[in-house]
């Protein structure tokens, strides 16, 4: 069990009687690039929120480095969360503070570094996503794509072991999208475990060692991009072909 960075074991979750995850079991090795695919509303974001402990499963278990996340006491859960970065689909930047302070926020909360060092690290993280000049801007002054990149910089602030990213390239132009992919690949090379929820098949092929597809709450395919291309399942094949349709 402890050989995996993340393991979901028979996880089911329903909202208002509608089953969003149905007996999902998967495991992700440390340092892997794992891409979760699927149409909108199939439970991909819900899966990520289970991993970080924002949602508790109705049944099943969610393990992060062997620890059963839903049953952890608050203090231990906080420790697990400190080792993870999370990019939300909506970016979820704190809109009352500047972009730079958003990135600095985890550093101020969880390190005893000087203000100077925190600002310098936050600026470096913003530079990684091409926003070095936007430290003092408010989130409302950024475009959707820039907010996404700022959210990614915040998720990377503490150099987490595990990075959960929800639609990292949505709303980005192709060049920036490629840059984000390269950034994620570099993180993976440094040993960060990546869990990427995406609709962007080329991006998934590039970043993911392994891909999995959720359909109507169930995990219907798992493997390399080539294995999914040759899947027996029509839905999987159609989804993998959809890259050319944009």
């Amino acid at each position: 069990m402890d050989d995996f960075a993340i393991r979901l074991d028979g996880v089911s979750k329903a909202f208002d009687g509608r089953k969003v995850l149905d007996d999902v079991t998967l495991d992700i090795k440390p340092g892997a690039g794992f891409c979760l695919l699927g149409r909108s509303g199939t439970g991909k974001s819900v899966t990520l929120k289970h991993i970080v402990g924002l949602l508790k499963p109705d049944s099943g278990h969610v393990y992060v480095r062997g620890k059963d996340v839903p049953s952890l006491p608050a203090r231990e859960l906080a420790e697990v969360r400190k080792s993870m970065g999370f990019l939300f689909q909506s970016s979820a930047l704190f809109d009352s503070i500047t972009v730079g302070e958003n990135v600095a926020f985890p550093l101020r909360r969880h390190t005893d570094w000087t203000d100077e060092k925190i600002r310098s690290v936050a600026k470096a993280k913003l530079a990684d996503v091409g926003l070095e000049k936007d430290y003092d801007k408010m989130p409302a002054d950024l475009s959707g794509g820039m907010r996404k990149r700022a959210g990614l910089a915040r998720a990377m602030a503490l150099d987490p072991d595990i990075l959960l990213v929800d639609e990292p390239t949505a709303g980005l132009d192709p060049i920036t999208s490629d840059e984000i992919d390269e950034l994620l690949l570099n993180l993976k090379k440094k040993g960060t475990t990546l869990v990427v929820v995406t609709h962007n098949i080329p991006s998934a092929r590039h970043v993911g060692d392994e891909l999995a597809m959720l359909h109507e709450g169930r995990l219907i395919a798992r493997g390399t991009a080539e294995e999914l291309d040759g899947s027996d399942n029509d839905v999987v094949r159609a989804f993998m072909r959809s890259e050319n349709a944009g």
Partner: protein, 260 residues
Amino acid sequence: MLERVGGAILAALAWIGEVALFAFRALREAFLPPYELREISRHVFEIGWRSTPLVATSGLAIGIVLSMHTRASLERFGAEAMIPSGLAIALIRETGPLVTALLVAGRVGAGIGAELGAMKVTEQIDALEAAAVDSFKFLAVTRILACILAMPLLTTITDFCGIVGGFLAEFTVSGMSWDLYFNRAFSLIQFTDFIPATIKTAVFGLIIGTIGCYLGFTTTQGTEGVGRTATQSVVLSSILIIVTNVVLVRLIFFLFPANA
């Protein structure tokens, strides 16, 4: 019909229970580390200092109006000399605390509800949790404590400005000096008038902070929900303040019989 009424009453009681548990949890966690002193002082500034112009202006206007009404009544009995003390008692015991609470409920309660509601629907509260920050403590406890701390201070400002307003009205009509007005105003006031009435506003602060935070944390349905939360925060805080005031006044009379 009876079933529907019963259901509504049960739902209301369940809601009150949830809000009460939210308030108890906030008060309990206020005594547990981390204390988030930076956030608390920031909110005391936001809630307290930024409400000062509103409560000071209102206090001044209320003092003037109360003075005019009191004069109109007391003049008939040749008791104009009682105007300063009558006004001070009315302001300090009741009008100041209640008016301040309702004003702050309008300005701050709506603000807290809307801010936290917007944070909820844009996943900012989830982002705090994902960053290993206790969102309840960071967002709710700090705001509730700030409301509790700011309310007595704001009430004192309202009281003072009300007395100054009363003096301005009296000075315009009768030319009474500030020294004489001040002496008469405080001739009948005792600490038992000021302290319990001002401390009770801490309870009003608890109500304003709790309702705003609770509704903010439970906001759903996007921006429409945020608007509804802001409105409900003001309405529910105001109702609860008025009802709680009745209980607190009775309690003060019980504890300080001289005030009755």
